[in-house]
Amino acid sequence: MIAGPGYHRPVAETIEALERRIDGLRVAVREAVLAGDRALASAHRASLKRAEQAWEDALMTATAPDAQTAPHAQAASEPGQATHPRAREPAEPTGSLLPLREQVYEALSLLQVPAAPKLIATVHEAFFGATFPTSRVTSLKRDEERSFRAAPFSRPYYICAALSADYLAPSRGLLAISTWPLERRVIGSLSPRVDFLTAAIRVAEAIERIPEPPPAARRLLQRFAASIPGASSPPSPPATVKEAAAAELTVHKDADDRARGAAAARARPLAGAEQLFGTMSFRELAIRTSGQTAGRAAAE
């Protein structure tokens, strides 16, 4: 039987009963999916979520330090320890006491080029000892924009977007620092490659500054090196990587600078929020049309 929203459950369904119900609901979801009944599958999934929540709550109660019956007594003997198995978020990382935005600032400052959340997290782990999940980085950009709009320019820097050269729209997946020159924050067609090479050089330099670079940093440099001609065979010492990256950069630099310069010129007149987080018009359009999934355009 599936419990609907109005069904009153008797007090404290036992954990075992909950587990049985959860198993039953999982079977029901599977059967609904196999039967092609999406609506039923969704309904069951919703019930499943509620049952799982109830299970977690029941476990928390059972393993709390002041529980009378102690089926999980050993866990209860360590007060303060999180004992429910499904933490909402993974445990906080050790190390950094800085807020996330500062850590992202640290990593970007090392790289000196716009970067994706994954790279930012890896760089921070390699050089500053602490890591963070990339999902938090992605939501950071949203928070920064909200903060900026609420009180423009009130903070010394903002973690902001990189802008695509063609439409000055926010470049997907990239973060930058607001205090950087505009040229560095616009992305032309050669910029991803140029920034990759530049980042490699920065990482190499950062390693050279440390007497005993951690293995994570070396591995990061190795990953860069594998995609740079002249430095791809391991082990690639920082000097080799710098040299090889610089060599390729000379091929792209002029064209990239020109493209970025032209884009920056167009971006300069933009208002603060647009200049930092991308042009409004395209984003508004995107929000308006986001209901249409790609490919469902009717015949023109």
């Binding site: 439409y167 067609s189 991803p192 490659r193 860069f224 995609s227 995107a286 790609a294």
Partner: protein, 389 residues
């Protein structure tokens, strides 16, 4: 062949008939996989008609009580996405490294264009427009003045059955001699230089669809888009990517034939009454209201060509299999061939027992069947094994 801007009266009428056949639902969009699958069973009118019209076969099959058995594991999807993301990160660094060696790109050819959206706009129409703009521009640029190298998730378009199918290859690469290569990123492994042949075959047909669409976009000169496509996949048991060339000339030929066949769907339409429709009659909530028996009748009016291969490719497979029960074809193509092409199990048994007098063409197979039946009876008897025949 791109659709002409204004349909002729005849085309408009065909379009109306196709719409009527499909019913109220929006047409299901073709993608490379579904177009490729059209080549799989050319003799099946049921599938040909439904695909040409854009019927959601899965919904239809479910409503008549035969939901399709296909599903995708989250793990496979996640793995595929993760591998693709890995290969494309850092300005597609890993991909660029592979392509440089494989296609002989110049160092300066490192441009990257992200066509997943256009300034935030993700609609197919807009992406297609931008894709066309960038690709034709890149094609026209002088050698040494490269403006594009890698185009990430470009949006191509192909006219199929009077509608546009939007197709998204993983990547298109432009080489310095002005030739485009379709690049597909897959997550099945290439181990010791070899990969699962079935998977490679599927990838090849998909890539052929993209090659065809790209040639179409660039104005038809086949030299512009190479028939050698690039397959990027994990090497051995690691996540490091490796590259393989896939020659799709044969697939292109088959595909062209298939597309031509679909283009002449009017001929197929003429065989069926004008009132025929696969409409589901959905209620305001979207749930189908059409009596399943009525829908089944409608489907039944269009002949299918069920073979066991359908079980791996078509959403209607269980329905058609049920329909085909009692035929030799349901047991397999080779079984029907072995039995001299006799279509129904009843006939086979009748010929074997001698209770069904054979026609002229059936004389030979009848003789063989009676001999075969006699042998089985002689050796198995009726008490110990088997069944009396």
């Amino acid at each position: 062949m791109t659709a002409s801007p204004r349909p002729s009266p005849a085309q408009a009428q065909t379009q109306a008939r196709l719409d009527r056949l499909r019913g109220r639902a929006l047409p299901v969009n073709h993608n490379a996989r579904t177009i490729a699958a059209l080549a799989a069973n050319p003799g099946c009118s049921r599938r040909a008609l439904m695909d040409a019209v854009g019927v959601d076969k899965q919904q239809v099959a479910t409503h008549v009580g035969f939901p399709a058995p296909f599903g995708q594991s989250q793990f496979a999807i996640a793995r595929g996405n993760a591998f693709e993301a890995q290969v494309k990160e850092g300005g597609a660094a890993q991909l660029l490294t592979l392509l440089r060696e494989h296609l002989g790109l110049d160092v300066g050819q490192a441009h990257y264009h992200d066509l997943n959206d256009v300034g935030g706009n993700e609609t197919a129409l807009v992406r297609h427009g931008r894709t066309r703009q960038l690709l034709t521009g890149a094609a026209l640029s002088a050698p040494g003045e490269a403006t594009g190298t890698m185009f990430d998730h470009p949006m191509l378009r192909l006219a199929v059955g009077g509608r546009h199918a939007y197709l998204e290859p993983d990547l298109i690469a432009l080489q310095h001699r002005g030739r485009f290569h379709v690049v597909e990123i897959k997550s099945f492994a290439i181990i010791d230089g070899q990969a699962d042949p079935a998977k490679v075959a599927a990838a090849a047909i998909q890539s052929a669809v993209y090659v065809h669409a790209l040639r179409d976009l660039l104005g038809g000169d086949p030299g512009r888009v190479h028939y050698e496509t690039v397959l990027v996949a994990p090497r051995d048991f690691s996540s490091q990517p490796t590259v393989a060339t896939v020659d799709v000339r044969r697939q292109l030929t088959v595909l062209r034939r298939q597309l031509d066949r679909i283009a002449s769907v009017e001929g197929l339409l003429d065989l069926y009454p004008a009132e025929l429709t696969f409409d589901l009659d959905p209620d305001p909530g979207g749930r189908p209201q059409r009596p399943p028996g009525e829908l089944a009748d409608a489907i039944g009016q269009v002949t299918a060509n069920y073979t066991p291969d359908c079980l791996a490719t078509c959403d209607l497979c269980f329905l058609c299999r049920d329909e085909a029960a009692g035929t030799t074809g349901a047991l397999g193509r080779s079984v029907r061939t072995d039995l001299g092409g006799v279509e129904h199990a009843e006939q086979v048994l009748g010929l074997a027992r001698g209770t069904l007098p054979p026609s002229q063409e059936r004389a030979e197979i009848a003789a063989q069947l009676t001999r075969a039946a006699r042998l089985r009876t002689e050796l198995l008897g009726t008490q110990l094994f088997g069944t009396e025949i």
